[in-house]
């Protein structure tokens, strides 16, 4: 049983965080893992929607969410947050983008800041498949169509009323025929 580390205050992430991190094979070993993820996170912040392999996408999602949540919680005058932003974003103009564009955009979000959508698994190829990692609120058209069917849309309201009318009319008809039958008998 260990005590929680108290030195940093972190915001809760709104993505599913797995208990153990994934390892990535690289020539530099464990040091190279963060280098790879750095490149991914930089690309995500730069392009706002990237297509890559699923395992790297999941790991990078966690780091991107942490970076953005720290930027929102602490702001750019916080020394540690600025150090992290400086490390994780290879291009320095993206540090400005993080604090000036992304932090205000996600200020009042109650959901996660990124979205991970599974992509095609082309055969032959990498078995685990691809994924598309994007920042929410990006200017591109949506990846997945909205499949909601709200009851308050006009055509749904009209259909509901039509159904009710049909049912009540059918009930009246049935009542009429049964009465006539009972009257005859």
């Amino acid at each position: 049983m260990n005590q929680a580390d108290l030195s940093k205050l972190v915001s809760a992430l709104r993505i599913a965080v797995k208990p153990k991190p994934r390892r990535f094979s690289c020539p530099e070993g464990p040091a190279g893992r963060l280098e790879k993820l750095r490149a991914t996170v930089t690309a995500l912040v730069k392009y706002e929607r990237i297509e890559l392999n699923h395992p790297r996408a999941e790991e990078a999602q966690g780091y991107a969410e942490r970076l953005i949540s720290d930027a929102i919680r602490n702001g750019d005058c916080h020394k540690h947050t600025m150090e992290m932003a400086d490390y994780w974003l290879n291009e320095k103009q993206l540090v400005h983008k993080l604090f000036k564009v992304l932090a205000p955009r996600y200020q009042n979000y109650n959901s996660s800041f990124t979205r991970l959508v599974l992509g095609p698994k082309t055969y032959p190829g990498y078995y685990v498949g691809t994924a598309i990692l994007e920042l929410k609120g990006n200017p591109f058209p949506a990846l997945q169509p909205e499949t909601h069917n709200y009851h308050y849309w006009l055509h749904n309201v009209l259909l509901e009323e039509a159904k009710k009318e049909f049912r009540s009319a059918r009930q009246d008809r049935n009542a009429g025929t049964t009465e006539s039958v009972t009257a005859e008998s």
Binding site: A4, D5, R66, H80
Partner: protein, 346 residues
């Protein structure tokens, strides 16, 4: 706007969003209480906040931010596989129940403490040990701390479980902090740094609001040591004066990227929103207990003075033992201490 209105119907959600909105403004105030390592973090006022009422009109009390340093054992083990909200809630209830019986004061690594334990085998039925707290750990009812002292040139460490029913009294004789969170290097340090008189009196602090940080740098004995101290980035140790090859190897073996590993940090911590919830829950009860103890102390002081006036001899050296002696049939099997003797070489 609609979304925010929906959120505000929930009291806790409001408290959280209020705290989050004010987090940046709070960090601008000056720090009095934090250790050197967290000077960038949480520069907040050390005052219990009474939030203005939410829409339902109830006041929302939030614990002061330094609660997480004063009562770290209330936070659960961060390992995700072992989290169980119900278990943690029940444990907190039990911890508060125990604290209402025995006063467990605020202490840190580096504080000198005295612990009195019920011991069936000793002539007084109690065993008292004084030592410096070199490490504390565990969460919930299993929270422990290790006290170290040198008795008759023999180094002795005792691990006490804070919520063990055998413990009768915990006194903090000197409340202070050191430059490191773990003082295990005292095992390899010169004995005078770990020696404290067994009849040490509690020291009074001049300034009650700030816990002082003792900037003492300890001198180590010559090698061999129990651990490779040069690899641990210790602040409270004097220059180790080792040959360069030790430092070269330490650099080779070091993992400097872990400092930037955001997910590693996340998996080791409890998120701030959860911490606030836990301490808000616990804060009011702890305050009530503190208040009752103060009243009891005032009453006992009045009674003592009354007894002196009447002429009965009140022995001022008699220590009052809060909490009862638990009969052996009720002792928990988990409440054992481990006794570690250390061979002392010159």
């Amino acid at each position: 706007m609609l979304r925010r209105a929906v959120l505000q119907t929930f009291r806790q959600g409001l408290a959280q969003s209020f705290f989050k909105r004010n987090a940046v403004s709070l960090s601008e105030t000056t720090v009095t209480h934090q250790p050197i390592e967290t000077s960038n973090e949480a520069d907040e006022k050390s005052v219990s906040k009474q939030k203005p009422g939410d829409e339902s009109g109830n006041t929302v009390v939030v614990a002061p931010p330094e609660f997480r340093f004063m009562y770290p054992e209330f936070l659960p083990d961060p390992a995700m596989e072992r989290r169980n909200r119900l278990k943690e809630k029940l444990e907190r209830i039990d911890m508060l129940q125990r604290r209402s019986v025995v006063e467990i004061p605020e202490f840190y690594t580096g504080s000198v403490m005295a612990v009195t334990v019920a011991d069936a085998n000793s002539p007084n039925k109690f065993a008292r040990f004084v030592g410096i707290c070199i490490q504390r750990g565990g969460s919930g009812l299993r929270a422990w701390f290790i006290l170290r002292n040198v008795v008759d040139k023999q180094g002795v460490e005792i691990l006490y479980e804070m919520y063990c029913p055998l413990i009768q009294k915990i006194e903090v004789l000197r409340l202070e902090r050191r430059l490191d969170e773990s003082l295990l290097y005292l095992r390899d340090a010169l004995p005078e740094y770990s020696t404290f008189p067994l009849d040490m009196e509690p020291e009074r602090r001049l300034n009650n609001s700030v816990v002082p940080i003792n900037p003492l740098k300890v001198k180590l004995r010559p090698r061999p040591w129990l651990e490779r101290w040069e690899r641990q980035n210790l602040q409270g140790v004097e220059d180790l004066n080792l040959p360069q090859r030790f430092y070269d190897k330490a650099e080779k073996v070091a993992k400097p990227w872990e400092k930037y590993d955001l997910m590693l940090q996340y998996r080791k911590t409890i998120p701030a929103e959860e911490q606030e919830k836990i301490f808000a829950d616990v804060h009011s009860q702890l305050q009530q207990q503190e208040f009752k103890r103060k009243i009891r102390r005032q009453h006992s002081a009045l009674n003592d003075s009354h007894m002196v006036r009447v002429g009965r001899d009140a022995n001022p050296n008699q220590t009052r033992i809060s909490g009862s002696i638990v009969p052996s049939c009720m002792l928990s099997s988990a409440g054992d201490m481990t006794f570690r003797l250390e061979t002392y070489h010159y």
